[in-house]
């Protein structure tokens, strides 16, 4: 008999977006309040794991057609490029730059190049944890 878990799936359809929005918030708030790339990546992974729990692996692969190994590589490249980009401007390796810009919708915004490094950390964390979970979950 196939079990029917419609309550779990309906709850997941709502909760997943809350978790993803919280992950984005905690990723962008990492410069001034607790949070950052690592926790944001783990939260995104937990949202995908919740999808995999209430649906199945094949469905999640269909709605998120991402190769997580490539994602890890892109994250490492992004972090390394942010660190190495400082050499072009004749300053030591890993020197970050920041400035205040007037963006059309946000007003006066502080943009910092450590954000790009944090995005690399985020991609690496999501890629590695999802690779681990998918590899273990698909095992016969």
């Amino acid at each position: 008999m196939r079990t029917n878990d419609v309550m779990l799936q309906t709850a997941t359809k709502v909760v997943t977006f809350i978790i993803l929005m919280f992950a984005v918030h905690i990723f962008f708030a990492g410069h001034y309040t607790p949070g950052g790339g690592f926790v944001g990546g783990l939260l995104t992974t937990s949202a995908i794991v919740l999808l995999m729990l209430s649906f199945d692996i094949a469905t999640v692969k269909k709605i998120l057609p991402i190769n997580y190994v490539t994602m890890t590589a892109i994250g490492l490249l992004l972090a390394l490029a942010t660190a190495a980009g400082a050499i072009i401007f004749d300053v030591p390796f890993f020197t970050h730059a920041f400035g205040y810009f007037d963006l059309p919708l946000f007003g006066k915004t502080s943009l910092h190049s450590a954000m790009l490094f944090d995005a690399g950390v985020y991609l690496v964390v999501v890629g590695v944890t999802m690779t681990i979970i998918q590899t273990i979950g698909e095992d016969e």
Binding site: T3, L8, V15, I19, F22, I26, T33, P34, G35, V39, L43, S46, V49, L50, M52, L53, S54, F55, D56, I57, A58, T59, G137, E138
Partner: protein, 93 residues
């Protein structure tokens, strides 16, 4: 007001101790899973009371994070108990 927070903290800690007893003693696995879920909720209350006591708002993200993790952990345990596996490979065949 601070006394009220401390009394609440002591009461929640007493409830936490009862849940720990159920976690250790619980006859079936389902008892232990429910105890773990309630321990997560108690931890959330303890963190909220502590952040009131030491007057900081940097712990508020920990509260939401802990509720999410407790929810996902309980679902994983429940699915493992019912089906014997956590991730289904393919539902639609």
């Amino acid at each position: 007001m601070m006394t009220f927070y401390w009394v609440s903290l002591i009461l929640v800690s007493l409830g936490f101790t009862g849940l720990l007893f159920r976690l250790v003693k619980g006859p079936t696995i389902a008892d232990r899973v429910v105890a773990l879920d309630a321990i997560g909720i108690s931890l959330v209350s303890i963190i909220a009371l502590l952040s009131l006591i030491i007057e900081t708002e940097f712990f508020l993200e920990v509260i939401l994070l802990l509720s999410i993790l407790s929810f996902i952990g309980t679902i994983a345990f429940a699915k493992f108990l019912e089906r014997g596996e956590i991730f289904d490979r393919n539902n639609h065949n």
